[in-house]
């Protein structure tokens, strides 16, 4: 993490899209009228969903909407690294996990690939389609190395599979999320090695259990 600043180039104005506005009002309605600032984080998410990033006019608009000082919104936006303060790639925002398990399993190679195919870290690519970032642990260590691309996790990646995924995004396709090592979610690679007895699953081992302190059946 480094010092977070608003982008140098900002749009002159910004407005809620109708669908964003509707969802924003739904969030505001969840809180008491005098506490509507509580909706600031959900609505910032919506703004980011609409544009891919949070621009300065949007911060002012949101502050006015929630009747809170604009500096308070800026504090929230800069506090949370999940809010993008610069425009991101239109096709994909690739967040490669670089924390220890992923690093040991080859995240460095993924980042090198990203640098080769997309360009500098944290900067939008020349064609405006991609941004890639290194992020801290995304909690999918069992499927390391992995990356979050837009809203989904892409797991068990290799430079080949990630390269293919990037190419698919560039081609306008929506690659399937999940493991790219051929396993179902986080099952052991190469199949299960324990709890393999089918009798575990057919109910035959089920025996009536006396639960202590359970009320007697009437």
């Amino acid at each position: 993490m480094s010092v977070r600043r608003l982008a140098k180039e900002q749009p002159a104005s910004w407005d809620f899209a109708p669908v964003t506005l509707e969802k924003a009002h739904w969030w505001i309605s969840k809180y008491p009228q005098s506490r509507k600032q509580s909706a600031v984080i959900p609505i910032l998410w919506l703004i980011q969903k609409q544009d891919g990033w949070v621009c300065e006019p949007a911060i002012r608009k949101l502050a006015a909407m929630l009747e809170m000082p604009v500096i308070r919104v800026l504090e929230v936006v800069t506090f949370y690294t999940m809010f993008q303060l610069e425009p991101v790639g239109k096709a994909a925002l690739i967040q490669v996990c670089g924390t220890t398990p992923c690093m040991l399993r080859g995240a460095g190679d993924l980042m090198k690939l990203c640098a080769d195919k997309i360009g500098h870290k944290d900067h939008i690519s020349a064609d405006g389609l991609f941004t890639w970032q290194e992020v801290e642990c995304l909690g999918a260590c069992v499927n390391a190395p992995m990356a979050q691309i837009n809203d989904y996790y892409y797991e068990d990646l290799t430079p080949q599979t990630l390269g293919q995924i990037i190419d698919d995004f560039r081609a306008g396709k929506a690659p399937k999320p999940g493991s790219y090592a051929g396993r179902h979610t986080c099952e052991p690679a190469g199949g299960a090695t324990t709890l393999t007895d089918p009798a575990l699953y057919d109910g035959s081992k089920a025996a009536p259990v006396k639960i202590p302190n359970a009320p007697e059946p009437a």
Partner: protein, 683 residues
């Protein structure tokens, strides 16, 4: 009351106090950076760690921990010492060691605590962090690398100043204090953030690199920039006033002062009148005191007593006004006035021109009506009190006049007399036990001021503004000398002219201006004598200039809007050939053949107090004496024009000759003007 033991000594405390406050009751000083008794508790600097039993076996932040009955508090155990040393070492990791070039040096909390808890060397080998400087306006200089993130400034501007514009962005090591997009802070009370800053991150921009605190001579005195009478300390080096700082006075300014009080002091060194001048032809020519007095005496002796007059200005001390009053009374002139703005008050009981609730007492009001006043510009400290009351008790505030941003929520009633009358008619709908009216001088200086005052008095009577034990009728003056002048009867005698009338063409042969600069004299053709400090409006009009002493250059009594006389002290000597105002008047009286009967300031003061005993009650404000004021007799019935009520102050930073001579104030004024012209930018 609950009891606790502090280092084995038992103390009683009020329920709700924190461990830190209880320890202070027992006389133990707790080091702190983020905690401040007038701000909300943040608990983020961790410097105030103490050991508490019963409790977990670890140090506790005493500022944020409520004290409990039978608690044992330890502030000097090895664990506490080690914990504080650890905290301080962490704070110093990123704090630069630039004390020799830091303006806070010598009065820095971090320096002081380092004496007590610092290590002799550093164990930190890595690079220190560096933070970009932030623009916060023309008054606050930032060196953000020095910031220790105590967030006092953030809390001050949000809570006391009421402009939530400073914030802490990012987090962890990257946390930075800034205003939104580095705009200037839109407040009249920004200077206080520098006082609050425990390190040198925020310093005074106008005084950067000008002084070291230990080389200044400190004088405790009274401010004259408005009628609040804030308690200040004037720090001087040689003949120059280097800075002005607040002194704590709970009844008046707590521990804040506004930016004009603080930063207008560079105006004391500019545009000064330092020798007498006499007009010869069209030119003002330097003269000796004797020549100046002779020129005045020649004119005064030719003039009939009712063709001479005196107008006192807004910054005058009571003694000089008393000397002028006695002199002109002795000369037989009834033309005496201290109300250069044409205000109607001055006859009747003293309570009719005082701020009767007192500033502190305003906090007890449960409904406040602001009539034709913008306290944010006229008296920022009164406005801060109103905001404090509004935050604490939710006092209901109504406004008739300009719809300005006052830093608190209010109900806007209307612009002029019609909406005021409408509100008075519906008085039974507004239930209030302790209602207070604050009447601005803007309405009282209008030609129909007496009629407005009469209408306000009648309305106030309906609301029960004055009742047993409560007097809620307040006049918000803007001139520091005004209440003193009215108290001593510095108003026209029988058949005398008011200031407004004296300024008319052909009204007088000789007009004496005692520091009066805020009156339009373009029509006057009288021979004008100006006794004052700055080459401002009065001096430009003058035929004879007598150089006087500014408020930092003389001892004197000032009566603030509450009617509280306060003693100001001399911090530096008058400039050049200038003398103290009373001494000039005393010398002049001899030339005019009406020698004043006092040879020292003490004798003059004794006469003042003998003639007007209220001046002897130094530091005392009468406050809410039971029903001394008959509201319906205020003013005079008459027709009121439907012109909207206006505040007399449009440019807060340029209200008197000292402020107009100040470069800093000019800069603030220009910035404020640019913001007024595009209010949307701040949003």
């Amino acid at each position: 009351m609950p009891k606790a033991k502090v280092n084995g000594v038992e103390v009683e405390f009020e329920p709700g106090m924190t461990v830190l406050q209880v320890a202070e009751l027992a006389g133990e000083e707790i080091p702190r950076f983020c905690y401040h008794e007038r701000l909300s508790i943040a608990g983020n600097c961790r410097m105030c760690l103490v050991e508490v039993k019963p409790g977990p076996p670890k140090p506790q932040a005493s500022c944020a921990l409520p004290a409990a009955d039978n608690q044992e508090i330890f502030t000097n155990t090895p664990m506490v010492k080690k914990a504080r040393e650890g905290v301080l070492e962490f704070l110093l990791i990123n704090h630069p060691l630039d004390c020799p070039i830091c303006d806070q040096g010598g009065e820095c909390d971090l320096q002081d605590e380092t004496i007590g808890y610092g290590r002799d060397d550093t164990r930190y080998q890595e690079n220190k962090r560096a933070v970009e400087e932030k623009y916060m306006g023309p008054l606050v200089k930032t060196v953000m690398t020095r910031c220790i993130q105590c967030t006092r400034c953030v809390r001050y501007v949000a809570e006391i100043a009421g402009v939530p514009e400073i914030g802490m962005i990012s987090r962890g090591e990257d946390a930075e204090i800034t205003t939104y997009l580095e705009q200037a802070i839109h407040s009249e009370m920004t200077g206080n953030v520098v006082d609050l800053c425990p390190v040198g991150a925020l310093t005074h921009k106008p005084w950067a690199f000008n002084y070291r605190p230990w080389e200044l001579k400190k004088t405790e005195t009274i401010d004259v920039m408005d009628a609040v009478g804030a308690n200040i300390r004037v720090d001087a080096r040689g003949s120059e006033v280097m800075r002005v700082l607040p002194r704590t006075n709970e009844a008046i300014n707590e521990e804040w002062i506004d930016d004009k009080t603080r930063y207008a002091c560079d105006g004391l060194m500019r545009q000064r009148l330092d020798k007498p001048y006499v007009r010869k032809g069209k030119q003002l020519v330097e003269a000796t005191w004797a020549e100046a007095f002779a020129a005045i005496a020649a004119k005064v002796k030719k003039a009939a007593p009712d063709r001479i007059g005196v107008i006192a200005g807004d910054l005058q001390d009571a003694e000089s006004m008393k000397a002028a009053l006695d002199l002109f009374t002795a000369l037989g002139s009834p033309n005496i006035d201290c109300r250069q703005d044409g205000m109607v008050l001055g006859s009747g009981p003293r309570e009719s021109w005082l701020f009767n609730t007192t500033i502190e007492g305003l906090e007890q009001a449960d409904a406040v009506m602001l009539i034709g006043t913008n306290p944010r510009l006229e008296a920022p400290l009164v406005n801060a009190r109103l905001r404090k009351a509004w935050l604490a008790s939710g006092v209901r505030i109504g406004v008739v006049g300009e719809q300005a941003d006052l830093n608190y929520g209010y109900h806007y009633v209307g612009a002029g007399i019609a909406s005021l009358q409408q509100m008075f008619d519906g008085h039974d709908k507004i239930a209030a036990q302790k209602p207070a009216f604050i009447v601005g001088s803007g309405v009282l200086r209008r030609p129909d001021g007496a009629a407005i005052l009469n209408a306000i008095g009648a309305g106030a009577a309906k609301f029960g503004v004055v009742k047993d034990g409560w007097n809620g009728f307040n006049v918000l003056h803007t001139a520091a000398s005004r209440v003193g002048g009215l108290d001593m009867g510095f108003v026209p005698g029988k058949g005398g002219l008011t200031a407004t009338d004296m300024a008319r063409k052909g009204a007088l042969d000789v007009l004496f201006l005692l520091g009066a600069d805020e009156i339009d004299l373009s029509a006057s053709d009288a021979f004008t004598v100006y006794l004052g400090t700055h080459g401002d409006a009065g001096a430009h009009k003058a035929d004879v200039i007598l150089p006087g002493a500014a408020y930092t250059e003389k001892a004197g009594l000032y009566v603030n809007m509450e009617g509280r006389p306060q003693l100001a002290n001399r911090a530096v000597f008058p400039k050049g050939h200038a003398r103290e105002d009373w001494a000039i008047l005393r010398a002049l009286s001899e030339s005019l053949g009406a020698k004043l009967p006092y040879d020292s300031l003490n004798a003059l003061r004794a006469k003042l107090i003998a003639d007007h005993p209220t001046f002897g009650q130094v530091g005392y404000a009468p406050g809410s004496k039971p029903a001394a004021l008959d509201l319906v007799k205020l003013g005079a019935p008459g027709k009121v024009s439907d012109e909207p009520f206006k505040s007399p102050v449009t440019d807060f930073y340029q209200t008197n000759p000292i402020a107009r001579a100040s470069v800093t104030m000019a800069e603030c004024s220009a910035l404020a003007a640019s913001l007024r012209s595009k209010p949307a930018a701040a949003e």
